[in-house]
Symmetry: D3
Subunit: 137 residues, 6 copies
């Protein structure tokens, strides 16, 4: 059967700051600039989850996008939406919540709930002009 | 010469329903949910056709996008636009018109009119949040 | 208190055809062109609901957009989404479901559930290039 | 001379929470839901500033959009971008930073720097689906 | 009948420069900055044409958007698309082609072909961040 | 460390014409159609610069997007923005400024300023419907 990629968009809003606990405020500002503001700032994150695999001959689906929507809701939106990533999300308590790291964490959280014969790719927009993507390499 | 991908966007509006003739309405609803509505529903499909190949040294083009626009119009828009895909498009008389299958059929319809040294990829948005892509694998 | 307009976007997918029962297929085609296809076609309708009124000094809200989201869901999305407007929506059994008429019907369905001191405006995108708006005049 | 409206888009990212200091966390959650998260959340705010007035016969401009861009930068972006609105912006120390109130404050901050013969309107997107507008009424 | 506004989007690409023939290059640069480049620069102009009037009870249309599309094509796109506005468009031979003036000229060119009982408004995007609107005042 | 792609969007406005000096106006028109207009036309070019590499364990960045923004500004925007590509940009004095060629030139101009262990890809929108991409092959 043909190998097709299916994509589902989702979004969440969150606060964060970029910094290392073992650096001074000055060093954090030198490296992360205004993104290191100790009082936090935030974003409307737009997320694209992409799954690649063969079309199921019975249904014509690679993966039911309604099921994928529900999975993104339970695994990602409920954990990240309207949250302070640094304070309230376990994965970022010791990991700097850069777009790169949020993208990798999103990949890891979804990967374990998806069939192993489907390839997964995550694209994450932090702003309309800055975005990142990760496919497990 | 450098190998570049050129992309052209197009769109069409159509009605469809997702179902299998050999299943009951109940089973179709269980699998395809409201997409199986026997009275049809519809979408504004957005299409991206992508061609990869070497730049022609004489023109600076990989492929004339005006020519590609015309090809998409004659092969895809005239067949799908303002149509009921299940009833009026031959390819879907026995094939469930999921986004995945529409994407593969679009690929097949265009592939035979394009030079064999150009790679083809189709991306099809069924809604702004659900989309699929296929490159002939 | 300042008078502010709050807007909420929503969407639904539906099938429809434009025609008059008292006209022949030929006349319907002459007036409504391919939109009169007897087998239907469809759209991803994008909806913007706008409410104008004074800011509530206690909450800082004109109207709770979460409540508006729920109202749009129960009154509009549940009635129109994944439906055939001509066959399954009472309001269009005798009324041609042009974008103009869908916009007016949406206004009427929401108006009765909203406080009378708020002005209501509806904007409805039938395609990214064709849209209509209505504010009760 | 013809009366034309000129519009300029800008954006800023910020953290905020919606709450009243004189209410309990429970009451704040009951009214503002997850937007009242004491650890803050955030948005990519998109801003449209609109000025209406007669075209200047000499330049063909209503107002130099380069000058407007600089004004938005110094008065709005430098105050709001990458900030915690509740903690770091004076106007919101006693005022709940709802989209409505941010829109009115933006209006007031810009109004005093603009010629009195130009009408001003502010549109503020808190998310792609929620936005507000204010024109000084 | 309800009074509704119907909108149609179109676009054209053109070159232009902003300047006054009776000013020196220095003065033109001081006022119009890099937009005065004597070698021209260009834009993808996005156009929205809006017509307000009563719904026709027979058709459910305010104005046939297919007819409006054709009118925009013959009156605007064929005159402006892939043109140098300063050199090739009569209206701008003595008039500075600012977004404001292009918007007013577009209004005047369309106004005379449209029924007098319909109100007309033109919105013109020069870039995604700079746009203007005019409704004949 | 995980290998992630970071993307930064930018834009510039420019005039150009497509033609070969060694061809007649008739031949240029036959091949490049209205894009060969000797008086030029123009576009709002949207640019996406994508860098792929391992996340730096210390910062959580693949590459500082603020630094990338500055590099795009100095190497691309300052050279192309509000310019006539054929006349004012050295690279296009003998090279036809098709979207393909602009994309390759952008790649070459940025490549030499970026670390060799990062892969580079350029995507260039000439219009919202026509775009190209190049990754150095």
């Amino acid at each position: 059967m043909p190998k097709v990629t299916v994509h589902r968009k989702a979004h969440f809003n969150a606060a964060h700051r970029l910094y290392r606990k073992d650096w001074s405020d000055e060093k954090n500002f030198a490296v992360f600039n205004k993104c290191s503001n100790p009082n936090y700032h935030g974003h409307n994150y737009e997320l694209i989850v992409s799954l690649t695999g063969e079309i199921d001959a019975t249904t014509g689906y690679v993966y039911d996008l309604g099921k994928l929507k529900d999975l993104i809701k339970s695994e990602i939106e409920e954990c990240f939406d309207h949250k302070n990533l640094n304070i309230e999300v376990d994965e970022f308590k010791e990991l700097n919540p850069t777009a790169e790291n949020i993208c990798v964490v999103t990949y890891q959280k979804l990967r374990k709930h998806l069939p192993t014969d489907l390839d997964l790719k995550i694209t994450l927009y932090e702003t309309p002009r800055n975005f990142v993507s990760y496919s497990g390499e």
